[in-house]
Symmetry: C2
Subunit: 403 residues, 2 copies
């Protein structure tokens, strides 16, 4: 199983490179299914057209029919290139396989894959090429899986076919200890666990579509993240193992798309959180970190973060419930970011959190909020300190050297 | 039933114009199905990609999957525009309806249309939008119907739904007595018969896809050829009637894509024609006019025309069979064209042919070949005389005035 992203199929010469890589894999005696994204820029172009056609509010069923056409172009072109080199192929769209999804247009979830047709073609020793990012509902309307969804197509098909592994070819050559653009000492990881990868993705690193990692974890599909422009080994995303636990921390990541909302001096009684968060979730606004201070004289403060793009809508929703909540006032701060350290090793090592806080304090970086999970610790800080925080944490946990 | 060509949906502003025309039709209380082509230039762009990907020889199944994506874009965009104006729509691709075709990729023929789904949506008072040019085989591979195939999609659906009529919106505002670019006195026809339209199309005028007219004739679907850029009445293509027979000639047309092949001094015995034409038809080379001179002393000359683009291949095929034919030599002439007059009236009027020959002779235009059918007379002439011939014939048959 191989998946190629948009920059890997951006033009015919790049598609030809992909074809050669596919051929190399076939010549080693492997059966192969290849999933492709749309040409770089094409999906954005189609989205622009949809917005232009509708003043920014395209109907979702038609939107999906529109933007799924980008993958149709690349899957057939790759097939044509392979045919012209003498290889037998067959390309499939989501509805031809069929990849059945729910009705949740524009971010549909795959429910099942009718893999019999794929198996039949593989048995004929054909190279199977699949348009990523798309499926169909039971009633045969076209759906798409959300940005990055081709990763998920690839993993889901790999799972359905019980493929040995799934290679995700992209424009970066693997998963790094942190963003190399922020710190030149960033190191490529040889191996990372599914949970760590999920932790990194949730914390802002966008190498893989989140859902694809979740599926890979459930079905235990080993993922290789590799560059389509060189032969580097890339990073293996796989089950947790002993090696991984030796490291306290595997990576440092950051997310600048955070805004902080503080509801001040609100009566601390049952139902307050629900009154606050239900109207937000009704509008599909994702709340990330949530902190509630200890109650003082029956009053408390509630702080949470949302995506910067949602802040306007949050303001208007909260001004409507402010009175009902009995809050003194509501503060908004858009100049924040979130810095996180991720690692399965921290489960069995105490002191990782305090080392993180110390490191930040030593640089005079004030921690505004903290949230922790088994394998991740996140701190909200002032946005201007983001890069500094990443670098000092990377140094503090010795990520440059690694194992 | 309405169909809009590529120039009518070339960008969002043009698609919005189409939407307004559709709305006008709906507001008059009509149920409507709209078939759209790809944006002008898009299909050509996709074909270029396919050729670039394969050194000019794309595999046909993949080629069809590729180029059918153009209509997917416009059908969903038109739907999005109509939705944003508050109209309920549903768009369908060939495989969703389903429009079943034969396996003849790139120029498939429609075998049947499962119209139940369309009827159901029309009963819900939805505007139904269909991607033209495409269908699927019984096994669900995508096919396309050949250049201009969206006309055929529209007529086939109109026939399946027993629509009152089918409007073909294009960048010309109707069918003319001749090409207005060649003769400014060309007059728009109010009405023309299916057979005349077929005669014009076969003789080089490319207003409608030939197969669409054949289908319209079989199922008696009235066609209106109209401009999407104005409200002119256009031309009605319909069954022959008394009015039409009053005119000797309805139009003059020409085709410069002709090359002449003459096989000289070949023994006149059974099987010669077959030896000559079978290898050509095996290679899908269409032979247009064919003339065999009267035999002199057991020898004859055979002359025929083919498309200019095929002349190289014809040369190589014939050089292989030349000896076997026993021909003295084979001549090729690419500097010819075909001028035709078309009209159902000529069935009942003698003298039309001789008037044509006289008219050409008076201008010193030598006739190289003649072929006739019930409603059409065609003459091959030297290419340089094409425009002159069109003008003098247009004058000679009084087409400027009409009925």
């Amino acid at each position: 199983m191989q998946k190629y992203g948009g920059t890997s199929v951006a033009d015919i010469s790049k598609i030809t490179n992909v074809a050669e890589r596919v051929i190399k894999t076939v010549e080693k005696g492997n059966d192969i299914v290849v999933v492709v994204s749309a040409m770089a820029g094409e999906t954005d172009k189609l989205i622009r057209l949809a917005n232009e056609a509708s003043g920014g509010r395209p109907t979702v069923r038609e939107y999906d029919a529109l933007i799924s056409s980008g993958e149709q172009v690349t899957s057939s072109l790759l097939s044509i290139v392979l045919n012209s080199k003498g290889y037998d192929t067959v390309s499939f769209l989501g509805h031809q396989i069929r990849i059945i999804t729910d009705n949740n247009h524009a971010s549909a979830r795959i429910l099942k894959i009718e893999s019999a047709k794929l198996k039949k073609e593989l048995n004929k020793k054909r190279i199977v090429i699949v348009a990523g990012f798309q499926g169909v509902t039971e009633k045969n309307s076209i759906t798409t899986l959300g940005r990055g969804g081709s990763d998920t197509s690839a993993v889901a098909i790999a799972a359905a076919l019980k493929a040995d592994y799934c290679e995700i070819f992209t424009d970066v050559d693997g998963v790094y200890t942190t963003d190399p653009n922020v710190y030149h000492k960033a190191r490529k990881l040889k191996k990372i666990s599914y949970d760590e990868m999920l932790g990194l993705a949730g914390a802002g690193a966008k190498v893989l579509h989140q859902r694809s990692v979740e599926l890979a974890k459930i079905y235990e599909v080993p993922l290789y993240v590799r560059s389509s422009f060189n032969d580097d080994e890339g990073t293996l995303v796989t089950k947790e193992d002993k090696d991984m636990e030796k490291e306290f921390v595997s990576g440092v990541t950051y997310d600048k798309d955070q805004a902080k909302v503080t509801v001040i001096h609100v009566p601390d009684r049952p139902g307050v959180a629900s009154k606050l968060f239900t109207p937000l979730s009704d509008k599909n606004i994702v709340v990330d970190m949530i902190i509630q201070n200890a109650s003082v004289e029956g009053y408390t403060d509630l702080t949470f973060t949302v995506s910067k793009k949602d802040i306007r809508e949050v303001q208007s929703i909260l001004s409507a419930v402010e009175k009902e909540l009995g809050a003194e006032k509501i503060d908004f701060d858009q100049n924040i970011s979130k810095v996180s350290i991720v690692g399965v090793g921290m489960k069995s090592h105490s002191g990782v959190a305090s080392q993180m806080f110390d490191t930040l304090a030593r640089e005079g970086i004030n921690i505004l909020m903290i949230s922790t999970s088994e394998i991740k610790i996140s701190c909200a800080i002032q946005e201007k300190y983001t890069e500094l925080a990443v670098r000092v944490l990377h140094d503090a946990f010795g990520l440059e050297i690694g194992n």
